[in-house]
Symmetry: D4
Subunit: 249 residues, 8 copies
Amino acid sequence: MDANTLKELLESVAAGRATVDEAVARLKRLPFEDLTYAHVDHHRPLRKGFPEVIFGEGKSPEQILGIANAMVEQGDTVMVTRLSPEKAKVITEKYPDAVYHRDARVLVHEPRLAKPAGKGLIMVIAAGTSDIPVAEEAAVTAKTMGHNVKTLYDVGVSGIHRLLDYNEFLAEASVFVVVAGMEGALPSVVGGLVDKPVIAVPTSVGYGASFGGITALLAMLNSCASNVSVVNIDNGFGAGYVAALINSL
Amino acid sequence: MDANTLKELLESVAAGRATVDEAVARLKRLPFEDLTYAHVDHHRPLRKGFPEVIFGEGKSPEQILGIANAMVEQGDTVMVTRLSPEKAKVITEKYPDAVYHRDARVLVHEPRLAKPAGKGLIMVIAAGTSDIPVAEEAAVTAKTMGHNVKTLYDVGVSGIHRLLDYNEFLAEASVFVVVAGMEGALPSVVGGLVDKPVIAVPTSVGYGASFGGITALLAMLNSCASNVSVVNIDNGFGAGYVAALINSL
Amino acid sequence: MDANTLKELLESVAAGRATVDEAVARLKRLPFEDLTYAHVDHHRPLRKGFPEVIFGEGKSPEQILGIANAMVEQGDTVMVTRLSPEKAKVITEKYPDAVYHRDARVLVHEPRLAKPAGKGLIMVIAAGTSDIPVAEEAAVTAKTMGHNVKTLYDVGVSGIHRLLDYNEFLAEASVFVVVAGMEGALPSVVGGLVDKPVIAVPTSVGYGASFGGITALLAMLNSCASNVSVVNIDNGFGAGYVAALINSL
Amino acid sequence: MDANTLKELLESVAAGRATVDEAVARLKRLPFEDLTYAHVDHHRPLRKGFPEVIFGEGKSPEQILGIANAMVEQGDTVMVTRLSPEKAKVITEKYPDAVYHRDARVLVHEPRLAKPAGKGLIMVIAAGTSDIPVAEEAAVTAKTMGHNVKTLYDVGVSGIHRLLDYNEFLAEASVFVVVAGMEGALPSVVGGLVDKPVIAVPTSVGYGASFGGITALLAMLNSCASNVSVVNIDNGFGAGYVAALINSL
Amino acid sequence: MDANTLKELLESVAAGRATVDEAVARLKRLPFEDLTYAHVDHHRPLRKGFPEVIFGEGKSPEQILGIANAMVEQGDTVMVTRLSPEKAKVITEKYPDAVYHRDARVLVHEPRLAKPAGKGLIMVIAAGTSDIPVAEEAAVTAKTMGHNVKTLYDVGVSGIHRLLDYNEFLAEASVFVVVAGMEGALPSVVGGLVDKPVIAVPTSVGYGASFGGITALLAMLNSCASNVSVVNIDNGFGAGYVAALINSL
Amino acid sequence: MDANTLKELLESVAAGRATVDEAVARLKRLPFEDLTYAHVDHHRPLRKGFPEVIFGEGKSPEQILGIANAMVEQGDTVMVTRLSPEKAKVITEKYPDAVYHRDARVLVHEPRLAKPAGKGLIMVIAAGTSDIPVAEEAAVTAKTMGHNVKTLYDVGVSGIHRLLDYNEFLAEASVFVVVAGMEGALPSVVGGLVDKPVIAVPTSVGYGASFGGITALLAMLNSCASNVSVVNIDNGFGAGYVAALINSL
Amino acid sequence: MDANTLKELLESVAAGRATVDEAVARLKRLPFEDLTYAHVDHHRPLRKGFPEVIFGEGKSPEQILGIANAMVEQGDTVMVTRLSPEKAKVITEKYPDAVYHRDARVLVHEPRLAKPAGKGLIMVIAAGTSDIPVAEEAAVTAKTMGHNVKTLYDVGVSGIHRLLDYNEFLAEASVFVVVAGMEGALPSVVGGLVDKPVIAVPTSVGYGASFGGITALLAMLNSCASNVSVVNIDNGFGAGYVAALINSL
Amino acid sequence: MDANTLKELLESVAAGRATVDEAVARLKRLPFEDLTYAHVDHHRPLRKGFPEVIFGEGKSPEQILGIANAMVEQGDTVMVTRLSPEKAKVITEKYPDAVYHRDARVLVHEPRLAKPAGKGLIMVIAAGTSDIPVAEEAAVTAKTMGHNVKTLYDVGVSGIHRLLDYNEFLAEASVFVVVAGMEGALPSVVGGLVDKPVIAVPTSVGYGASFGGITALLAMLNSCASNVSVVNIDNGFGAGYVAALINSL
């Protein structure tokens, strides 16, 4: 329940469109609701500006559906990340309007935000073709939160002219999400070219001494460009979320 | 040479206050100047909004002074990080107006920015007393870049009421830098309380299985709070820099 | 064979209810019994207060059944951990009264303890929904050893108010088992709120730089709360066992 | 300020032995006191049963003294761990009654507890001579908290008969702290012999592939004895603290 | 081709039982034979006392058979380790007399050694039931090389009396192979009890912080018992081989 | 498009064999072509002497085919590495002339180079039979780039005479690719025997403490032979590519 | 007290050369003697064939001297390893006959063994000049235990002919200790040349990715030669001890 | 003794300028000379084209001088790497003509090579000022081996225009040595710009998660540029040596 929903509910009561009992029923679940296997944090939209996002991995479809139900009842946007196609099917059967982004493995239901939450542009850049799913997770997240997003894929440092060619394009953005696996050098190069914050996302793309993304992670943490901060390996969601928050300022 | 300086220089030429030769002499060093041991990036203030910052570790006092000289000649703010008191002395002898922040081990000379670069407030929080030097590095950096900074120290999670007591205080800030060693849990807790971006800085404070800050770094990368991004261990400078950029939007 | 069983056996002999030969047959297996592939430690109930617990992973169903048979013959409670449903079926076919806890992957047969072994309450807390199986392993273990257990799930630090809301609830317990994956911060926060021992259990829940639980493990070992000790990743059984021992004092 | 002190203070006011202003002055610092470089947690004795313990490493003598002063004013026991002899001197000059335990590197001032906080015995066992300082840190901590402590040193597994010879001695204790470096096997062996909780402390004693205590830490985490939990490398203080809490039940 | 076979061949030629051409055909393959995908080291029995042993993992059944054929033609014992049942079937179809040890995953064909190669006894000890396959690999290897082997399984340190009970049994052996996973403490304890060399074999048995055998490996390398040396994780073959060599002295 | 193709195209235009529009169509894709999921680097043959090589892992067959199509249209050799047989089938259905090297998992289409690109000989050596696929990847790469390649397999250090026997053979080569898993010692030994550059390739062959090739990688990086440089684990392609470049000088 | 000394003592009593009280005084310390900071294991010579060896690191000179005194009183050989020259001086002042081997950092007092404990020869081989101190520790240990030892230094694999030249020399030995840092390849090569057990000792010699001996350790554990077992990094003592035990068979 | 020296010696004998005895005296030390602490590999110049290079670390000045003496007597160039100024002094006292390169910590005596060993140019590039000592080690090595070397320092990726400005300069070189610490991205970028082999050298420059050069090393091993191979951390010597060999082809 975000601030707008709360206001509407109270106005409904004031206007007699909702009984006090109905309002109490919805409000009494604040600040959280205990489903035994989950304490759904209904206070979060008020406190954080965006409802709880469901991490789909390691939860059963029934658990995900249960949490989603509780959120829908509060009128909240439901977003589920790391959701396999099989589990997504269980949700979309109940909520046919929900959209499942297969590449990004993200499901979104009833995004409430009609107009951009931030004026700036978020640019999501991926070093290679194999990094696209993680980049898409970032892009879908920021879009769901109401932001303008542009993407630019396969412009890694082995052919640096590809990136340099987009120099004017880069000048448009307010904040960058840069996704790369293997040696993870792209955020440093982008960081050196722009005067905006860069959220670097290492991916598990690579083999041998890439160690499932550790190499890219370490490289990004040691970036010689000062405007780079880093999120967890393959954490496109977190990068998109941080970028959206920054763009909301 | 930043955009303002450049404009002033050109106006001086236009107004006859400077000869063309003088202007050429200053401009011809763009985009960089080769001192053999360093290629000073004079193009950076134009490209990035802030001049090159000198990393003091691993450079001799002579090298640092040489780079500083080249920057001063361009009219740029000089900032040196990770500078030992001994090396700082060599610089302050030549530039007595330079200020050396002993805790933060940062030297600043001729900060050009008279008014805040951003309207918002940057809040720097440290988990423990031993984390203060890194937090101060972040604070000095952001202040030098022209931002409002407040600090809050020794409010780690073993006494969570200390942090909760500052709840209203937290509501004022636009962006957070949260510094912690040991188990590195504070950024997650702060991240869960606020709806603004949090830059987490792991420190090398701890012993045994803290592994010089690796534990704190990993904990922050795995934060369950979605608004947290991370910089290198002990990298107060980077965190302050990123926070300043975000606050400039 | 625990102390009570031993006493009963000797009284049976004294009362003529059992022949000396029968008693010898049962006792001669002490202190252990060699099944070639296992030396069943029949001395353990006497020495440790609870019989050997069978670690189900890496043993064939036949081996598990063989060890269980030997223990049942001694009148001991049989508890098997890390038991897959397939293997559990083999055991429950022979011992239909055995209970298989699917979430916890623990099988229990003939728990002998009728009354609580300790007066206090053991509270098992899990940070997230995905941590529940490990938490349940701890809870089942402590209950099987005759203790009162309460559980509290999905109260991680990204919504710290959920935990703080249970403050009075926390005051009831004598010992805590706190289970968390990802950044593993919950034991530190709980540890800072209570004046009782906290057994922290890192889980392998997470991805990327969580490294299968290493991050949570390290964070817990570096807890700034002094009342925290730690067991192996995903070792719900060990935590429940230690908590039961502490609660028995 | 612990519960007893609080009661005394209020009784003094009731009896006119203290003015209301004096009481207010002492109480108003609750729940914490901001010394800029530290938020002293005066609420801790009430919440946790023992005041904050000062971690001496990484703090200047002035900072330690400042925190100690604030605590002494509240009538709290002051305990400083990981304190070098040089820093200890600064404290003992101001507080000559304070005792500095050189082996354990722990300083204690005004322990308030006259009678044992627990009835049981805490046994501290060290595998080798080089592990003694860590073991002493545990012993001093538990004693300062008001408990009976016995020690047994240099009884490692390469001569297992030394430990077995103390079998009856082991039967006396309620809780064990077992300290070992190198392969860290002793807690497993002790754990297999007793039916009480064992707090294992890995030490950084060893060389080569002992990796500063990592090997011992990992071995203890993987103990096949179910009654073992573990604290950080060289964390004698934490082990003594947990043991004292357990013995207080 | 070992020294005996070589002598027999030459005697056959001397006695006219073999033609010079036949002898040349067999001998010309010395010191190795190039099968393109393998250089079979026919010189090894002469140089090392035992023919090349085929590591079955990562080789196709055809490659294994090809190498085996080349060795059989030289009259050498064929031993294949880490052989899956599926691959073993391909070999036993061609060589029905070959014996496949399913537990140890070792296949042996035509062991030439009729009498013990060493007078002493090799004792193979395993800490747990799950360690038996690795222990069996060691036992089969040493037996194939012509040695007396006894085994003792599931006598780990959590019930140290099980091992101590076998004290006289231990006194019989000339060399020990001690196999353990988890904390890997058993070799240290055995090493402290006997005055003979102990070959320690860490196994990948365990979970969480056992890291696939790394913990056991490190523990064994740091053993406080001076008579312990170590082989690779799960390398039962190597331990059996070294034990056999030692027993041959 | 390499330099020759470019020249031919321009000559065609000059000779009227191609219209200006046709030439423009082909040239306008320089320096790269945006397929959304890939920026094909058509500038690479001009800049680097060999077209982009497609890394097959983590790309869908459709993506690989799309990139291949774009390259074929430019008249470039197409080489795809780490290509599974299933994906290879999709490519060979469209391009039946393409050759798929199953061992090396490399597909090559329309190699343009008719005569050796370098005069020297590249020798590819593998320590064991299981290392052959990686060695073949190196060999196929260098051959596709137009070089003479010889291979020598299964000559590891446990039978050093096998390698020494090929001493004259070694003298022929200009550059060496040496492939080894396990302890990775072969490059050091080869490096000590020859006066030419040695490219060492660690493989993931091994078990236990080989850690998927890390041991071999580290050993090669620490080689006491000064003429050894190293590529990533299992990176036969990179080694073949570097060897080809060296041989082109 | 070893078996001979014990026998002599009892014969002295039988012959009236010693009183019963004197004998009791010496024997009553068996099986160990508690010096508070050490439990000296007087039973070890009887159980293990050689008295306890004092690890000098991490013990104060007073502690070392105390243990030495207790052993001298029992008539035992005193051997102290990892002893700095400063501490050695304290011992040699009390025991002027003690010999301090500066390279090996080993002190030996009153070696009791007059004739070789084993008939065979122990060969200690070091790869480089910097590995000599560790090799000397092995050599001194084996000699003190009464064995014939030969050494061969600086014959690493970058010049393999140096080792091959000593082929006949190698044939003399019964057991090998092979010491190497950096890539640690020498034990594999020696292991491939001989049919005797090889004890490999990794050293911390190297830099960068040698990681203080980890690379050499891992390489040796993954040796493709089957007759190699390994001890801890820089553990020359352990290698010499194991070699001596093997040579005693 | 290299091929030229050998020829000269034999011609001297033929011409009567040297007696047979003199020649024998010099030649009999082939292939190596045993100084007890070192086997000087006099065969190396013949086999490898350049004499043994002395690794100065971990050797005493006396040992270094002894080896140098033996080499000088053979007429060989003496090169000592990783030599501290203190040790260098001992050598230059005896050989005043020797040149000590302080930055590179390399000493060179009597370089025999008058004319360039290769026609091409070796370009040594360093990312930052702190990487210069390692880069100089590479440059001095290649020059000593008779090659043309150019250097380019402080052109890291945070200001990529600095490097791109040198594009024509880069086109001159036959082989590149690229030195970088921190995130180690420069070799990838250079590798993408040139069609020549690139030897990447990670340095230990950095802090926190740079882990003494591991991050740079891993990044370079995972380079997306195919023409990059890697040497050990800080191994400027090895890179210069490999570059020289390549340039000699």
